[in-house]
Structure formats: C-alpha cells, structure tokens
C-alpha cells in the first residue's frame, strides 16, 4: 500500500472546480424555501394574518348576531281578540323561523296598552280601532312584525266576513295568489346577495394579497440589491433562478394565506344562521384559486422588477407606484362595472381574477368563459414574466442610483 502511495505523483490539493461541484440542480427551490421561511418567522406577517382572521371571524359573528336574530316581541293587547291575532301572527312567523316568538299580554283597555308600551313593559301594543287594528310603538314598527300582524289581522277579519257572507276563506281567496319568478335566476334559486358578498370578499382578498405580497417581493429584491448580496447570489446561481424562487415562494405564501382565510371564513359561516349552500359556491371557489394564482403571478415578476429598479428601500414607494395604482384601478373598476362591460372585463387579465369568480358565483357563466379567461391570463403571465425578468436582470446589478421604468427598458446588460 505504502509503495503505491509513494509512486503516486503529488496531486494538487485544490479541489477541481468541475469535478467537485455537485451543482445545485434547482437553486430556485432553495431561494423559494428561504423566502417562505423568512416570512413565516416574520412577526409582522404572522400578526397581520392572525389579525385578518380575527377580524373576519368577528365580522361573521357580528353579522350572525345582528342579521340572523329571530323575531321575539312582547305585544300588549286589550283582550281575547288581540291575543288571537298575535297567536295567528306567531304561527305565521314560526313557519318561517322556528325560533320566532310573539307573546301577547292582555292589559284590559287601549290606554293601558299605550301606557305599557310607553313604559317599555311590552315592545308593541295592538289596539282595535273602528275599522281594524292599530299597532302602537315608540318610533317606527319593525317591518317584519308589521307584516305578520297585518297578515293575521286581515285573515282574521276576512274569515269572519266570509262566514257572514255564507262562504269560507278558501273560496273567497281563490284565484288571488300572486307569485314571482325570476327569469334571470337559474332553477337552483341561487342567492344573489350571498354571491355578491362572497365575490366581493374574493376581490378584496386578491387585492390585499397582491399588494402585500407584491410589496414583499419588491422589498426582498431591493434588500438584496442594497446590501450587494445580489452579487454573491448572482455569482452562485443564475439571476433567473433567484427571481423564480422569490416569485414562486411568495405565490405559495399568498395562496396559502388566501386558502386559510377562505377556509376559516367558510367554517365560520357554517356556524351562523346563514345558509351558505350556494350552488355556485364550490365551483366559484374552485375557479377562484387558479384565477388568484395566475392573477398574482401575472404581476409578481413586475413587482420584482419594481424592487430591482430601486437602489434603496426608501425608493420603493416611487418605483412600485405604477403597480399600486394599477391594482387600485383594477379593484375599483372591477367591482363597479355593470352589464356588458362587466362581462367583457371578466376576460381581461388580472381584472378577471376579480370579476370571473363573481360571475361564476352568480351562476351566470357558460362553461367556456372561465376557461378562456384563464388562458388569457396565462398568456399575459408569460408576457409579464419575460418582461419582468428582463428588467430585473438588467437593473439588479445596476448600482448607481435608482432607475426609472423607461431607463431600465433601454438598459444594457
């Protein structure tokens, strides 16, 4: 053994560059995982996410408390007739909401009823008048109560009138029913209001995520540029991998946060009285996710470019201004469009992330519409990624001062 060793010519101790380098196959993965780890350890990020969830849950609970409360009143009456009307009204009310409760309190005469209402012993008073009934109250009467009481009073009077006329209520009412049918609604009877609220929430979520994570991408880019870390990084891995990792890491985070918020929101809603069994809901959410991801990606590389244009963190405000304005415009215009313009805009990249899920939730789209919109935003994505990457590569190593968008376009390598 030892003889062989002595025969071996002395080799250079220096490791050969090409042989020893294991080479990083996918450096972007490392960059993305750092990006995610840093953010997940960032107290501000965690706090703001937690705060969003808390506010969301509080809103849902508040809504459930205010809007979902059942009718419950004490009603002062003079005597038996009033009690009968209130009982009929309660029957009608519980048919709609089993928790509804109307209690009648017999007080003898009209002045006692008025007195009790004024003192707050009862919520309302029901007094017989010459040609019917009268509800007394301090201020306006709750419309839901007025509706059921009026119905009960009318039915009661008509039953009596019918009997006097020798017929019954049924024959008297024959042919009087009027119902409505919405031709624009589908047979599933989707709830327009719920669809609007959810669509709006989706729009806000996208707007906030894009702004927050976009800013984060930009500031992460300028952080590396400002500290010259980018020189070490770009000597080690291609700038494109750096950009890819940064953008994909942030996209994953944005998606994760969005899914968390939507999930918590849906679970929260399930515990309230709201009927969220929207037929378009599952479909809407399923489509929202790809629209969210692509809408985010479409701007992500441009955010990175905005960051690389700045030379210091302080310049970010001005270099990211066009993007911020764009997002505000997309959001404001998106939620305010009507009719045909809204339909057209739901195909426009980025805008489609706000409008197409809304339209899907409303159940008013053909199957091909989201597909086309998705393809359009995908194409737009490829375009902005190329543009963003080019700007990013050119300006990242440009160290002397902040760049304008126009100058960066004409910059040489």
């Amino acid at each position: 053994m030892s003889t062989t060793r002595t025969l071996t010519p002395p080799t250079q101790a220096r490791p050969a560059a090409d042989a020893a380098a294991p080479g990083l196959r996918h450096p972007w993965k490392l960059v993305a995982s750092r990006e995610i780890q840093v953010r997940l350890r960032d107290r501000n990020f965690l706090m703001s996410t937690a705060l969003t969830l808390v506010i969301l849950l509080a809103l849902i609970l508040l809504q459930g408390f205010l809007g979902g409360g059942s009718m419950s009143y004490r009603i002062g009456v003079e005597g038996g007739d009033g009690t009968r009307i209130v009982a009929m009204a309660e029957q009608a009310a519980t048919a709609q909401d089993p928790a509804a409760e109307l209690v009648s309190v017999e007080l003898g005469d009209a002045s006692a009823v008025e007195e009790a209402t004024r003192s707050g012993d009862v919520d309302y008073g029901l007094i017989a008048t010459a040609d019917g009934w009268e509800v007394v109250d301090e201020g306006p009467t709750a419309s839901d109560l007025e509706l059921v009481l009026a119905d009960a009073a009318r039915t009661d009077a008509m039953t009596r009138n019918a009997a006097e006329a020798g017929t019954d209520l049924g024959s008297l009412m024959a042919g009087t029913s009027l119902s409505t049918r919405d031709l624009t609604a589908q047979d599933d009877g989707s709830d327009g209001f719920m669809a609007f609220v959810l669509g709006f929430v989706f729009a806000i979520l996208f707007y906030m995520s894009s702004l927050m994570f976009g800013m984060q991408i930009a500031s992460s880019a300028v952080e590396e540029k400002q500290s010259r870390l980018v020189e070490i990084l770009s000597a080690a891995i291609p700038v494109r991998s750096l950009l890819l990792g940064k953008v994909l890491g942030s996209t994953a985070l944005a998606l994760g946060q969005m899914v968390l918020i939507v999930a918590v929101g849906l679970v929260g809603l399930a515990f309230t009285d709201y009927d969220v069994a929207l037929p378009g809901l599952a479909e809407g959410i399923a489509w929202y996710i790809p629209f969210f991801v692509l809408g985010f990606l479409a701007l992500a590389c441009v955010w990175a470019a905005a960051g690389s244009l700045a030379s210091r963190a302080e310049d970010l405000q001005s270099t990211t201004m066009p993007l911020t304005m764009l997002l505000v415009a997309v959001f404001i215009v998106g939620i305010n469009l009507q009719g045909i313009w809204r339909t057209i805009a739901s195909f426009v990249p980025v805008m489609s992330t706000i409008l197409m899920p809304m339209r899907i939730l409303e159940g008013k789209v053909e199957w091909w519409e989201p597909v086309v919109a998705l393809l359009l935003v995908l194409g737009f994505c490829l375009l902005t990624i190329r543009l963003g990457a080019r700007l990013y590569q050119r300006s990242l190593l440009h160290t002397s001062g902040s760049l304008t968008w126009r100058r960066a376009m004409t910059l040489q390598d």
Partner: protein, 293 residues
Amino acid sequence: MLELHNLTRRYGDVLAADDVTFEVPAGRMVGFVGGNGAGKTTTMRMVMGVLAPTSGEVHWDGTPATRAVRARFGYMPEERGLYPKQPVLGQLVYLAQLHGMQAQPARRRAVELLDRFGLADRVDDKVEELSLGNQQRAQIIAAVLGDPVALILDEPFSGLDPTAVDQMSELLREHTSQGVPVLFSSHQLDLVDRLCDSIVVLHQGRVVAEGTSEALRADAPLRYRLTTTGDTGWVRGVAGVTVIDLEGPTVLVEPQDERVAQRLLTDAVARGGVREFSRIRPTLSEIYREVAA
C-alpha cells in the same frame, strides 16, 4: 490558475477597465492596488461574472470560466451586506447551499469558522445586531464557506481590527497553501506588501505595474543616501550621479548604476568621514505613487 485576458468594460465614454490582463497563479496571493475609481471593483465583478465585460475573457485553468466554475469562486463584494434581519448561521448555511454544499456540512463548517472568529455565541443573532467588524467577519466566512476554488475579495481588510486582520490573513494563507488562488484589493499597502506574493497596480482602468514586490522594487530607480561629516555639495560635480535632494551633510542621489555608486562612496571616504551610505528601497506606497502618478 485564474487568468484575466484583456478585460475591458466601457460605460458610455468612460473606460472603467481598459485591457486588464494578469494572472493569479494557483496557491498565490495577488494584491490588487489602485486609487478610488481605478477600476478594481469593476474588474473583480467581471471576474465573478456579475458584470459582463465589454470585451475580454476570464479563464480558469486555461479555458473560459463557465458559470459552474464561477459558482465555486468565493466572493466578497465591495459593499458589505448579508440579510440584515436574518440570523447569522442560517444565512451562511443558505449561501453555502447556493454554492452547492449540503446543509449539514455547511452548518458544521460555518460553526467552526464562526467559532474561530470568536462569533460562536452570536450564531443565532441577526446580522444587524452585530458590530460592523463582526459583520465583516461573517462576510468573510460567507466567502470561504462554499469550499471555494478561488477567492476574489474586494477590500476584505477594510474595517478590521488588528486581531481580525491577523485571523483573516491566516485564513487566506490556509487557502493559498491548498492551492487556491487569491485575489484581493486593498488600500492598505503595507498589508499588501506583507501578505502578497505579487501585486497588480491599476490606474485609470489600466494595469500600470505588475509583479512581485521584489520585482517592482527592482524596477524602481537605484537610489542611495549619503551622509558625510562635511558638506556634500561636491556630489553635484560627480559624473553619472543625479542629485535628488541635498541638505548640508546629507544627499539623496540617483547613480547611473551600481559601479558609479561604489565610486561615489570611495570619493566620499577619500574626502572625509562617511556616516551613512545606504541603498534606498522604496516602499510599496512609493512605488505605487510613482506608477499611479
């Protein structure tokens, strides 16, 4: 061996680097000297591939340096910075991983180096919480961590205290003894003189002098200082001798050659007592001032 061939970088009308050619042989330490704006940083960035040269090439072991090769160069950029809000050890491991190292060995080596630079108890501190000198140490560790095949260091010694300078020098020596070529720029000429095997002087983008400090000194004009017991005004009359400076008994001369110098000494002895006759060896700073003038 690292070779720079005619590296040129033009910014508009300005030539930041003009036909820069020199080599950093394996296991040698080359000092890169020059005033502010001489083009040192531009050149080093081109060596790292961070900046594309207008023309010229960087060769590694005889062939143009590829990205894969450069990924194994250890680099310390001019302006310092690591991620300010990330813990020291974490980002050192991350940077080493980007250079293709596995996480575990990278962590071990980083801890070892941090310990050596006296930062063992600061591994989990954020970089911004370290003093500037300690940030600099962390930066150096970042440069050498990925088991580099060459080291390109832009002003690695600036801002270091004498202890850190010694630690740093030792670290560099370890690398050169393993055959790693080291190129570093510095304004601390005495340090360059002490550490480097050879020196490259850059002035206005051009290499104006290059070689070992011995060779550079040899190129410097021959000078002697003569101090006698009497006045030395007679020296002006000696053939082949140029008087640079004369002050009473002391005269600084530039003899044509060594023979003329010896004759001058004999003359001086013949005229009376000689207190001093010494060869003036220029310091690196003097050489530098001369070539960069």
